[in-house]
């Protein structure tokens, strides 16, 4: 008997008493009535608590803000689907690398890159969570992981209050990364310290009119 058949057989034996299945009660919150301004305020509050950098800006100001965030960078990587207009004010001295399916940066190249700029799929204000799902404006997972500084664009139209509100807007089979602040650990005396293996600096640009 294969291990699979045996384990499934054991499960059926174990469940011989045919446990009753109750309907799952779903009386938790699934809709919110927050205004756009309240959503922005809530998300900002959470991100600041996680020690992320946050600015709420207008779409027209994206290039200026992206450039100022990359002030100290010597190089930046961006996914092939990103609006390159967002990078137009980045000084010439900062090397730009586009990462695309046919021309992917190697891991050492990513490690030598100071920053990454991506967009995002959806954000949950209540928990301060930004979800990336690998769409062309966010790129494959490695590019938002290896560089030590992540500049992330969050369009206001993609903010919801509650996690259950985000679910219908997600394509779960795409590789996803849910980001709530820069990398952190609570492993020493259960006190939170920001900055371990993931990007140690997270700058979020919340963009109105996008």
């Amino acid at each position: 008997m294969s291990a699979k058949d045996e384990i499934l057989g054991r499960i059926r034996t174990a469940l011989a008493d045919a446990p009753r299945v109750e309907e799952v009660p779903r009386s938790y919150r699934t809709t919110s009535s927050l205004s756009e301004e309240e959503l922005i305020e809530l998300l900002v509050d959470r991100l600041v608590d996680y020690k992320a950098g946050v600015d709420v800006i207008d779409a027209a100001d994206i290039p200026t803000f992206v450039a100022s965030k990359l002030d100290a960078a010597h190089s930046v990587v961006y996914p092939h689907g990103l609006d390159t207009g967002w990078l137009q004010a980045v000084p010439e001295s900062v090397q730009r690398h586009m990462d695309a399916p046919g021309s992917m940066l190697t891991i050492p190249e990513l490690d030598a890159t100071s920053a990454v700029v991506t967009s995002s799929a959806i954000s949950v204000a209540e928990s301060g969570t930004i979800i990336l799902d690998g769409e062309p404006d966010q790129g494959r997972r490695a590019i938002s992981l290896v560089p030590d500084h992540h500049v992330c664009i969050v369009p206001v139209s993609t903010i919801v209050q509650l996690l259950p509100e985000a679910m219908p807007r997600l394509e779960v089979t795409r590789p996803q990364t849910w980001i709530s602040g820069p990398s952190a650990t609570s492993d020493i005396e259960l006190e939170r310290v920001e900055g371990v293996h993931g990007p140690r600096t997270l700058d979020v640009l919340i963009v109105r009119g996008l």
């Binding site: 059926r12 938790y28 259950p164």
Partner: protein, 490 residues
């Protein structure tokens, strides 16, 4: 060895057994005052945080109800859920392996690593691989396994054992961690201080090269979603993302009980888990992957589905809800026994209140190493209140105490006073009438007590309790009697 029948739920093996009985281990650990101070500090920090973030959600109880019901439903059709998961995961390029027990899982992983030609792996913290003793097995086979979670790294560098499921090095304070790093990390800055931020940075430097060059990673999983074939890992440091994204081969080892029916169910668990475990609104990073994605992440993706006693636990209809556990660790953080003894006293990979029920359920209560675990509790109920999926741990403890007594009787061992007490306890608590009868005996306690209304010496097994503390004498009337007479008087 117990006899195993084909298709019959079999007991688990691996790191599920205490090396000595809980009372002896607890006694030794209680003598370690540094350990107790560290634990007290850490568990109290996390308790306060948890209460704050849980209190923020007006629908916390509704989420707990949903979480508990989803898990029950998943367990009731576990065979179908697993087959559905397998179908979807496989359709997306993942490969599934089934492992009856620890040994089989270790062999499968070893073979998979060997096939890649690599002799080292990076690891994301995983309870399942701890349970099966994977690191030790790999080492014996000449494969080096590097733990990458900070706390696991501390434990591994110190050649110690984890003592908590979320923060395995909770028994170490910052200065002890600094000393371990200075001693064990080859390139560490000798001026390293005990600031947690500096210690985290030392870990980053120590592991960076490993992450960037690793060919094989081994992970656990927090959940598997049956209807999409998706796996998820919840973490904080980014070591998980490194392992799940950069290597060519990813091998995940997961208990069969982790499967959830619908992918939307994570909307419940991703609200319950982070708030209950680290007391955060959300953990910094969660990764979800469904088989293989071209040009993104590992291109060889394996999953080892592990039984190792889970079907045995499932066959206990009073105990099976222990499998609903999402390993948040809230129960140990609130447990007065855990706070004093620490995790090592429980012996098994699973310490604290959940360990006290899960270990004997996985191995069978007949396993003598574990039959004292159900007594490692005062039945105060704090664990039940804290549990995000509402596992009634005290009730299962009482059930297992009864099983233990029965199993000893089966072996023709004479029940000890403790057995009788515990059997009596479950009898007394099972009905109001029983309890009332017992309370009638209360005035006897008055006789044993001296004039200062303190009982200084109890007979028999209870003498151990009064040898170091006085017990207030019971009141002359039980609360139930008093309540009755109050009501009738009105």
């Amino acid at each position: 060895m117990s006899q195993v029948f084909l298709g019959m739920p079999a007991p688990g093996a691996g790191n599920l057994f205490a090396e000595e009985q809980f009372p002896a281990a607890a006694h030794r650990e209680l003598g370690n005052t540094q350990l107790r101070a560290n634990l007290r500090h850490a568990t109290h920090t996390i308790r306060d945080k948890r209460i704050r973030v849980v209190g923020e959600l007006p629908d916390w109880e509704a989420l707990r109800d949903a979480g508990s019901a989803i898990k029950d439903a998943s367990m009731a059709n576990l065979d179908q859920r697993l087959e559905e998961f397998e179908k979807n995961f496989t359709a997306r390029g993942g490969i599934i392996h089934w492992a009856r027990d620890a040994d089989e899982a270790n062999q499968i992983v070893t073979r998979l690593v060997r096939d890649t030609g690599s002799d080292e792996v990076v690891k994301v913290k995983s309870m399942a691989t701890q349970e099966i003793g994977l690191n030790e097995h790999l080492e014996a086979q000449g494969i080096a396994a590097f733990e990458t979670d900070l706390a696991e790294l501390i434990v591994q560098l110190d050649h110690d054992k984890p003592s908590h499921i979320l923060v395995p090095a909770i028994h170490k304070n910052r200065t002890e961690v600094r000393d371990i790093f200075l001693r064990e990390m080859p390139q560490v800055d000798p001026a390293l201080t005990n600031e947690p931020a500096k210690l985290a940075e030392a870990a980053r430097l120590h592991l960076r090269k490993k992450f960037l060059s690793a060919k094989v990673a081994i992970s656990g999983a927090n959940f598997a979603l049956a209807d999409t074939g998706t796996l998820g890992v919840v973490e904080s440091e980014g070591n998980g993302r490194m392992c799940l994204t950069l290597p060519e081969t990813l091998i995940t080892v997961m208990g069969i009980e982790k499967v959830l029916p619908n992918w939307q169910d994570i909307e419940v668990f991703m609200q319950l888990l982070p708030r209950s475990s680290t007391g955060e609104r959300m953990n910094p990073y969660t990764s979800l992957w469904t088989g293989v994605t071209e040009n993104d992440g590992p291109q060889n993706v394996h999953l080892v589905l592990l039984d190792n006693g889970r079907t045995r636990a499932l066959s206990d209809k009073f105990g099976r809800t222990a499998l609903n556990c999402i390993r948040c660790s809230a129960c140990m953080n609130v447990c007065p026994v855990y706070e004093r003894t620490g995790g090592h006293a429980y012996g098994s990979t699973y310490p604290g209140p959940i360990g006290a029920i899960l270990s004997p359920l996985l191995t069978g209560i007949e396993a003598e190493e574990n039959n004292s675990l159900p007594y490692a509790s005062s039945l105060c109920g704090a664990c039940y209140d804290a549990c995000p999926v509402k596992i009634n741990i005290p009730e299962i403890l009482v059930h297992l105490r009864g099983e233990d007594v029965d199993s000893k009787r089966g072996k023709k061992l004479l029940p000890t006073q403790m057995d009788l007490l515990m059997k009596g306890g479950s009898w007394a608590l099972s009905s109001g009438n029983h309890l009332g009868l017992l309370e009638k005996a209360l005035p006897l306690g008055k006789l044993v007590a001296g004039k200062d209304k303190k009982i200084k010496k109890l007979p028999g097994i209870a003498a151990g309790w009064t040898s170091s503390r006085d017990l207030p004498a019971p009141p002359s009337k039980s609360f139930r009697d008093w309540w009755k007479s109050e009501k009738e008087g009105k």
